[in-house]
Symmetry: C2
Subunit: 345 residues, 2 copies
DNA sequence: ATGTTCAATGACTACGTAAGCATTGAATCC
DNA sequence: GGATTCAATGCTTACGTAGTCATTGAACAT
């Protein structure tokens, strides 16, 4: 309010008010100032007030960097996440949200190409983070093994291939897709096309397994087609291939909602009606899947639960033996939309 | 590959290999090890190899925390961002992506309620970040003034009300909305309804001003209606109010794409055809606006440019005088979708 | 041969905090 | 009243690095 609250006691403009400065003003030792901010109950009310007063006057803010160096904990969780994709964005914000309630922050390490992961992991190692989330289904085995060697808690998020290597949290990809397949069978589908995103992603493989196994058991044909990316555009383009096929299937199962949206719109653009001509399912349960324009049948991941479990693992006091990492699987819920509404044959 | 590369030279298991340890093994001083990692050109090739060899053998990783404490720079940029909203998610990932190319990381501070901002800013202050992005149009004046006092670079992202207080980067909200308004006038609209998100958001106000001024100048009626949130659901619900009004407008201008999507679907659910019965525009240029289901006419923000400019400001060597903060305004591009396709009256 | 220069390296210290240990003094006990 | 106890506080050090300054010795000029 007044003009530039500088020139307090010494000539330090404003940069770097330390606990030592506060101690000097309050007439106590640096140790006592530190105690006021970390374990106030150990300080008598009188001095506590004195210190807090002085701190407020000087505009003292504890330096987390120094604290981290000394205490060996940063209160920061790192997240290695693909730079693109609706799904990962939603996971990310959920992490940030939940961590904020636990006074932890999220440090983002995004990568555009799977090949960039190595560099990112090297960069991650320099920060002594309290924990690390590996949120990508394309991180390789060797990289996972390398991370297991780390002395910091790590958790793989929705990366089935990481199970058994590092602690993991996943939705039940296989069972979820199997249930969607059952639903299609019940609805009368007899020839199904499965559209994957990127076949090297472990989620893609696991989900496809869930579909093909169930469909096979019920004598329903199932062909795999790769969109090439987990994007709307990839789905839109692959829709062309679908309509140009010899035999048009009864239903299309897509391994992710975002791709499914593209398939949906691409099919419509090609004159194929969903669900009249073709049933369609997605996976993930993105918020957009409930939008009226899509109303997509999909498997809804309880992202909040998944994230909560992942955080539990990271912040757990007792480190589980690295020989047998925990693996949490959360089952999803099917959302029945109009893209699989029963046909009137 | 071998069994647990521990028991190297001393009994230190794996935690905390320091430059001192490396120095001991390499037979040089700690200072030289430091030089190898920060300014290698100052070290002779021979010693450099020795050190790098020892470092690799011990698995030495520089400690960024300690480095930050000493050098007073963290290489981390903080971002204060709302926890919800497609737009902010896209901005966030863009920041992360671009910062990664400059060897900077993004530390996320998300908040769910505008009231949480104070707490978040207090938390932010503890980290001695190299810069801070304030990405929210609901941060108050007093909080902005408080941030200006900070000794660290700050930039407000798309927060018109911050202009003149702290350095800012924004899309040209007013002109953009004005151009959309002109487009509607050209298309024949004579009565327009403006749907805002949250009227206290400075973007909302500025955008509305752009619309109402232009419409007023051309004698076109314009009413403001508040959706109450920048969400699909809010838009969907407000669509009911629109159809229930005495006089149904020719066009609806929505202050954000995400809300516009909801309005779009809500109108359709109510039996109103877009664009046959009603024209519709959005703002932001989210990727979904181009999706076939919407094909929304909207103002596309060059998010990559905006983010690039923001980063420039944060990482600039010379700090501009705090009395006259820079203000960058980037103009947007109109994307003409079918929601304003000319009607055949 | 001696002085000069400069690259290469080492010794030392500060960054701001927290934790262990030492010290003080008042309250309590017998 | 003297010994005991314990809360409150101070003193000291370590966390791991980078920058400052000092030192060394080889290459070069005169």
């Amino acid at each position: 309010m007044s003009s530039k609250s500088g020139a307090d006691s010494s000539r330090r403009t404003r940069r770097g008010v330390t606990s030592v400065d506060v101690a000097a003003v309050a007439g106590v030792s640096q140790a006592t100032v530190g105690r006021v901010f970390s374990s106030p109950e150990k300080v008598s009310p009188a001095t506590r007030d004195k210190v807090q007063d002085a701190a407020a006057r000087l505009g003292y803010v504890p330096n987390v960097i120094a604290r981290s160096l000394k205490s060996q904990r940063t209160n920061i969780i790192g997240a290695v996440v693909p730079a693109f994709g609706e799904y990962w964005q939603s996971v990310l914000t959920e992490f940030s949200r939940q961590l904020a309630t636990k006074d932890r922050q999220l440090l983002l390490f995004s990568f555009a190409e799977p090949g960039d992961v190595d560099g990112v992991l090297a960069s991650v190692a320099q920060y002594r983070l309290d924990g690390l989330v590996l949120a990508s289904a394309t991180i390789g085995q060797d990289q996972l093994i390398q991370m297991r060697e780390s002395d910091r808690p790590v958790v793989a998020f929705n990366h089935p291939a990481a199970t058994g290597i590092v602690p993991s949290v996943s939705v039940d990809n296989e069972a979820g897709m199997a249930r969607l397949a059952m639903h299609l069978i019940d609805t009368g589908a007899r020839e199904i096309l499965y559209v994957g995103g990127v076949s090297s992603a472990s989620t893609d493989q696991t989900r496809y397994r869930g579909a093909s196994r169930t469909l096979g058991e019920h004598g329903v044909a199932c062909t795999y087609l790769e969109a090439g990316a987990f994007t709307y555009e990839a789905g839109y383009k692959v829709a062309q291939h679908i309509v140009e096929r010899q035999s048009v299937p009864d239903a299309v199962m897509v391994s992710s909602d975002e791709v499914a949206f593209g398939v949906h719109d691409g099919l419509r653009a090609a004159g194929v009606q969903v669900p009249a001509d073709l049933l369609l399912t997605g996976f993930d349960g993105l918020s957009q899947s409930a939008w009226a324009g899509f109303d997509l049948t999909t498997l809804v991941q309880a992202t909040d639960v998944l994230v909560a479990r992942a955080i539990e693992i990271l912040l757990a006091d007792d480190r589980p033996p690295e020989s047998d990492p925990v693996s949490v699987v959360v089952s999803g819920t099917i959302r029945y939309g109009k893209t699989t509404a029963k046909r009137h044959d």
